[in-house]
Symmetry: C2
Subunit: 599 residues, 2 copies
């Protein structure tokens, strides 16, 4: 049976030693109280909760799934009780505004907590995490009355929230949506329509569920400019803000799906439900974009989560499973065979997982720091810089982490050989659960277009330069450092090449816009490999500094350098192929007539 | 709901136009009667059976799975009836020896049939296909009496067979196996032990099941040199060869697994079962190796199967699903959005699937021709050449096809966006079903070691040269052909580089054997990309020749050239990274102490 231990040492290395979060928090108004003691205590408590309460429910959730009884969704055994414990522990309020009962801790700290909870049991974690979008929408765009009615309950976790966007004929292209909102005499709206893929849309864990629904007013313009947002609670609150009448919104069915069985993916029927307009009419979509970056960063963490789960469990198996002898002679001569960790290709599977987990974690926390800055700084230039970095790094984190997270989950399974295919070991569930992360919150292809189109080319490359400048300064600073040469030299070269490639694609795009699309996923992956290479260079430097000054935990720091070497020699060369293919143009994709793909 | 149509036009292109199977058969003693009429009729009949009988059971099989009642395994609804139809149609006997009731058709033709049947429903196809190893073992190593008792029933399909190798503590490393065979006074053996992962080990489709069991005699030497083979039938045949007493072999449980739910993966308990020695004592493992190449080629086809299923269904979806507008302006202005096939990255997902399916199919059929030659030719040099090619190409086909087959299955799912994750569309089943192919019959890592170690380095590169010489001659022949330049130039360069890389790795290996292991999977994938590039060059040439001489079906042949271009420009550059990483040495994998992978 698989298990999970929160990698606290790794988290603390990134949080304290690599990124110096205590100093970062000390510099931000409103975050000063998040001292290293607080960070330590939060990581510690989150680990206990994740390991003892949530992780043991991960396999149960997969096996039992959710079931619909009448219009009630019954979650797997233990899910409800775990959620009560989560609420009692005050976890939902962690990074929320103190005005509504939140603890006001920085977002980057909640990313660390969410990594632990999400890795332990991603399906379960989606129930509380999905409230995020709902809470932020009301906080940012709601009236004072709406805030007072909904936010305290959402922040303390007694109520959960959803975002109801997708309809069966439109996911990516929300401009096509058909759900209707008709104004009523009392100022409310009657909502009619069907939404699909609503994660945590219905369940038995909270007193009430607050849906944010995208719908059209009767006179709304076509397309994305005619979408408005509505609050549609499962139970209508009475004048005291307590749950009262059942609203006409219900779960019509549950999707039967590849993974995340423990989370209810609902078809939601709005049969004349009472809804309340939030924000300006017809501005719904742009309202939602205001916090999409932080939401997508949350999904990006799923890539880290499944890679970590895969790594921990496949590492344990690789040390334990005896099979064949090392090519260089027996390593465990007293055993009938060597543990499979002696074989180079098994190590490659393990190190690939390890390098992605640790590199992506570092980039995720770095990106989350930009959320902190953009929210809390009083320095306008710093805010702009952080917002720009966040906008740029978000599609990279979402697209790249989930792609390589799925790869890592598969490597973990592969280490188990045939046993990896068998449910009891938990590795195949991990692969199935991870597959969704490449699809929801915008597919990899959508992230790629967002990155190269919206973020890079539409800013004339400014957003790219903001990041490559940081890398450039790092490389310049350590250019004379001999021990850093294996990292700084290739990193500096790739950093320059990144700009050159961007320029070339931009030039092509002026002649044929399809050249942007045709380069986009390769560009996204290239960006991911280089950004994570920067993190590995930073980690190698931090490790070298420690080793030069201290004798403590030498093996830990030496492993960082060894893994950095692995990343640079075994993973980073993937950029060679990506460079070639991203420049190969649109013709090799567009030449074939749609009717001639098959005969 | 997903569906499948046998790609007959594609199969005929490869069989008749590219590889000229009719001429190939005409040149082989015993195959002369397999004229183009026969080929045509067999493909046609197999297609009807696959499309009408088996494909409709694919999703049923996944949803229902198998269940164990007492010691009987009940297969999903319709499986038993379909098997009866398969037997009645004479399919099991297709490529078997006429001496035992077979039709004596060439193996390469049965590969074509198996592609159709296997793509339609891989889980179902494993019931008849698993008999292959059993039949071949008895045919090659059995006594006359054993042949007379078992072969007619196995060949006509009334009985099925299995291979019982794996035990819970040993899969790859069969030398560790513990199942015991104790000689009895009547010349039989008492078999005691437990085997796992026995595909089709128990089911309700055939009158009897014949297990070939690997076990140890009491005085057997340790390791792989102490393994013997035994025939252990479910029902012991009486003196007339009819089923009589139930033997002490039974299914203890069914594995709960990621995919291929329709196929029963059994734990088989041998509780003092009566077994009959087959072949020499202690020579069991080498007996099995005699036909492992053709068995592995059968598994390689699973890579083609899932890629084809993914391609057909995702292509249909991409033409149908309307979402967003093309970056270069509306392509379906009368519709609310364009079909997603207008987007370059959707096309990349589709073309990647297409290029792998068609390229791998061509290489598979080419490899299957070597089976024909090695079996039927009377020319000793030709036999040796074919056997060498077969031995060399088998791990490439098994390892490469299944790796990129899994990739293709995932691309198919990705085209569906969020719907790809939902069971009803069938794409997630296809991904789950395909995952096993990278594990059984030797993992990718084992294929890689087989290729670079056993096949290439142990023959001092002879087996590689046998193949690269064919490519070299092709490139030389078409060196002056301007239209072939985009293919011949890069192919010739890679073909030469392949030899250089092999030499470099061989040199490294003399110092450190781990350098072979450390290069192996990259080498395998490199080999696959180049071998398939050769097939795409050949296909481009065949298409150009047709277009120069005929006006018929121009779109079909033009699509071949377009897809060849795609392969060369978008897929083949992956060799750039592989070249770099395979030469990066073992240190970056071996430096980290096993105890320092995590802290």
């Amino acid at each position: 049976m698989p298990s999970y231990i929160t990698p606290q040492r790794e988290m603390r290395f990134v949080a304290n030693e690599l990124l110096n979060l205590p100093e970062h928090y000390a510099s931000l108004p409103g975050c000063e109280e998040t001292t290293d003691d607080i960070i330590e205590a939060v990581i510690d408590a989150a680990s206990t909760f994740s390991e003892e309460v949530i992780a043991p429910l991960n396999q149960v959730g997969d096996q039992q799934g959710c079931r619909l009884e009448g219009d009630t969704v019954i979650t797997p055994d233990g899910f409800k009780e775990a959620y009560k414990e989560y609420v009692d522990g005050g976890w939902p309020s962690l990074a929320n505004d103190p005005d509504w009962g939140g603890q006001g801790l920085p977002d980057s700290l909640s990313i660390i907590v969410n990594e632990s909870v999400g890795t332990a049991n991603w399906s379960w974690s989606m129930y509380p995490l999905l409230s995020h979008g709902c809470t932020k929408t009301i906080e940012t765009h709601g009236t004072d009355e709406q805030k007072q009615i909904y936010l305290p309950h959402l922040v303390n976790g007694n109520w959960t929230g959803t975002m109801c966007l997708t309809e069966s004929h439109c996911g990516t292209d929300l401009g096509l949506l058909r759900t209707k909102a008709t104004p009523q005499d009392d100022g409310s709206y009657e909502i009619k329509g069907t939404k699909i893929f609503i994660s945590s849309g219905e369940h038995d864990m909270a007193e009430n569920i607050v849906h944010i629904v995208l719908a059209r007013l009767p006179d709304a313009p076509a397309g994305t400019k005619g979408i408005s947002l509505f609050i549609v609670p499962k139970f209508l609150p009475d004048s005291d803000g307590n749950v009262a009448d059942r609203n006409q919104v219900s779960c019509g069915s549950l999707e039967h799906k590849m993974g995340i069985h423990g989370n209810a993916t609902c078809v939601m029927n709005f049969d004349g439900a009472k809804g309340f307009l939030i924000g300006e009419p017809n501005k719904g979509l742009s309202c939602m974009f205001t916090f999409m970056n932080s939401a997508r960063l949350g999904t990006a963490m799923q890539g880290v989560a499944h890679a970590e789960w895969a790594f921990q469990n496949s590492l344990a198996y690789a040390k334990d499973r005896l099979q064949m002898r090392s090519l260089t002679g027996p390593k465990a001569p007293d055993q009938p065979a060597d543990p499979i960790i002696v074989h180079p290709e098994v190590r490659k599977l393990l190190l690939t997982q390890k390098a992605f987990v640790e590199g992506n974690r570092a980039l995720a926390y770095f990106t989350a720091m930009q959320v902190d800055i953009s929210k809390h700084t009083t320095d306008e230039a710093a805010r702009e810089h952080a917002e720009g970095l966040l906008a740029f790094l978000t599609p990279i984190c979402k697209g790249f982490f989930t792609e390589v997270g799925f790869e890592a989950a598969n490597h973990g399974l592969q280490v188990f050989g045939g046993h990896g295919f068998i449910a009891e070991w938990g590795m195949e569930q991990n692969v199935r659960d991870s597959r969704i992360s490449l699809l929801y919150e915008g597919t990899t292809q959508i992230q790629a277009l967002d990155l190269i189109g919206r973020k890079v080319l539409m800013t004339q490359g400014e957003s790219l330069k903001r990041f490559t400048k940081i890398i450039h300064l790092f490389c310049k600073e350590h250019a004379g450092d001999k021990a850093m040469k294996p990292f700084v030299e290739p990193l500096a070269a790739l950093n320059k090449e990144w700009g050159d490639l961007t320029m070339k694609i931009g030039m092509k795009a002026m002649k044929n816009k399809d050249d942007v699309g045709a380069a986009s996923v390769d560009y996204l992956m290239y960006a991911g490999y280089v950004a994570v290479a920067f993190m590995w260079a930073k980690m190698a430097k931090a490790a070298q500094d420690h080793l030069a000054n201290s004798d403590s935990e030498r093996a830990f720091y030496e492993a960082k350098i060894t893994t950095a070497n692995f990343y640079y020699q075994r993973i980073l060369p993937r950029t060679l192929s990506l460079k070639e293919t991203m420049l190969s143009g649109a013709d090799n994709l567009m030449d074939l007539d749609a009717e001639h793909f098959s005969f």
